[in-house]
């Protein structure tokens, strides 16, 4: 390779690299706000999906706090908890719980719980369960996940918080054993955590609301 062609090669590579970087930067700059808005809208929308429908018309103020409990919430890192505040009173909590023992990967759930410690809704927001079997936990595919609505730690009693295959009170899914077990366990654990830490969470939310940094609403 002669001196001249080396320079030509280098400048060509440099030029194209700069042009490529410019293109990616421009697309990133143009799309980042839209992507962030999409994600925020989805998360806020999903919060309403798992809250009591009666709250849908209220001007709720969701306040983001965090909770850490590897045994009950499925992650050693803090997970997001939205406390819904209506007229200064906490009315519900939404946990971004993780069911760590999904079939292919941890299942990310949203668990809505009312102040009275009843489940108001559960959704699988991100999972990699087998299509046609485990993915029936997705509300788009089946109503299975709606069976938690209205349940609490006393309904059914703690020993019956399991799938029917394990002599519990919840339906299982044909062909999938691991997935429903993981979800039932995660929902129960979330209830246990909420029951034990309710005051703590509400106080944290009140402090956060007073400081004026509400959740990215």
């Amino acid at each position: 390779m002669t001196e001249g062609s080396l320079w030509r090669t280098l400048s060509l590579v440099g030029l194209i690299a700069v042009a490529a970087a410019a293109l990616v930067t421009a697309s990133y700059e143009w799309s980042k706000d839209r992507i962030a808005a999409n994600e925020r809208a989805r998360l806020l929308q999903s919060i309403y999906d798992v809250l009591d429908p009666a709250l849908a018309d209220e001007e709720l103020q969701p306040v983001l706090v965090s909770a850490t409990d590897e045994a009950l919430l499925g992650s050693e890192d803090p997970i997001d908890v939205f406390i819904a505040i209506d007229d200064g009173r906490p009315v519900a909590a939404v946990f971004a719980t993780i069911a760590p023992d999904g079939y292919n990967a941890p299942i990310r759930l949203l668990v809505g719980i009312s102040v009275e410690e009843r489940i108001t809704g559960v959704r699988a927001v991100r999972h990699r369960e087998t299509p046609g079997l485990g993915d029936l936990i997705d509300v788009m595919k089946s109503d299975w996940i709606r069976q938690f609505d209205g349940r609490s730690l006393h309904d059914p009693e703690a020993a019956l918080w399991a799938v029917d295959k394990d002599e519990g009170a919840f339906d299982s899914l044909t062909g999938a054993t691991v997935t429903p077990r993981a979800v039932v366990k995660a929902v129960k654990n979330t209830l246990l955590y909420f029951s034990a830490h309710k005051q703590e969470l509400f106080e944290a939310a009140a402090r956060a609301a007073a400081e004026g940094d509400g959740a990215g609403a």
Binding site: L12, A20, L23, A26, S27, Y28, K32
Partner: protein, 224 residues
């Protein structure tokens, strides 16, 4: 005109990237569970093909052979990253479903093959049109395979088109009077479906060759 037509036939049928060259099979097999998934990935791939061919052809005279492959990859990668960001911003829900497969367009050998064998040797117009017709051919196979698997796997057709075309498209959904077979949606169904399409194409080709009186042409070149 006839040249355009022959380029179109080449991309759609004679050298179809998916059915003849067997390139880009990873995304092809992975996303084609429904028509809408296939169509979206197909359109994204076609856009990248068209843009890559145009850019590569524009700079074909200043290309240095020793670094052409890295440059092709750089161009393809930056285009795909932009397409990925734009779909994420504009078609958020579909982007969630297609997930990793839009970034994986970068690894679709059909695009690199077009850049190397067509775009770097042809004038811009021809290269762009060849990229367009190859993209159309690839997209067509994705849609047909998606339709096959959706019909046999889920018993529906055009479900979820509203993700792409807005609320009017919700009415396009057709529910067929049977439930699907799970196997068609799972990975084996992708291989069976593609095998059926390949067999049909080869059968049609042999029939035509036989009708012309000649011996059957050798079918399809195996590709990576």
């Amino acid at each position: 005109m006839s040249e355009l037509k022959s380029l179109l036939v080449q991309g759609l049928w004679r050298d179809n990237p998916a059915l003849v060259q067997l390139l880009g099979l990873c995304p092809l097999l992975a996303v084609t569970t429904t028509v809408v998934n296939g169509l979206t990935l197909g359109v994204a791939t076609a856009v990248v093909l068209l843009a890559t061919n145009t850019l590569v052809s524009l700079m074909r005279r200043s290309l240095v052979p020793a670094v052409r492959i890295p440059l092709f990859v750089l161009i393809i990668a930056s285009l795909v990253t932009s397409v990925d960001l734009l779909t994420n911003a504009l078609l958020f829900e579909l982007h969630e479903i297609l997930g990793i497969f839009i970034p994986l367009i970068i690894t679709n050998c059909a695009i690199l093959a077009q850049a190397e064998t067509v775009a770097s040797r042809q004038p811009v117009g021809r290269a762009a049109f060849a990229g367009f017709s190859a993209g159309l051919g690839f997209c067509g196979v994705l849609v047909v395979l998606g339709a096959l698997r959706e019909v046999f796997g889920a018993g529906t057709l055009f479900a979820g088109m509203s993700l792409l075309f807005g609320d009017i498209a919700a009415a396009w959904r057709i529910d067929l009077p049977f439930d699907g077979m799970l196997a068609a949606v799972l990975p084996p169904g992708a291989f069976f479906g593609l095998a059926v399409l390949l067999a049909l194409r080869n059968w049609a080709r042999e029939r035509r060759a036989a009708a012309r009186g000649g011996a059957a042409l050798p079918v399809g070149d195996a590709g990576a």
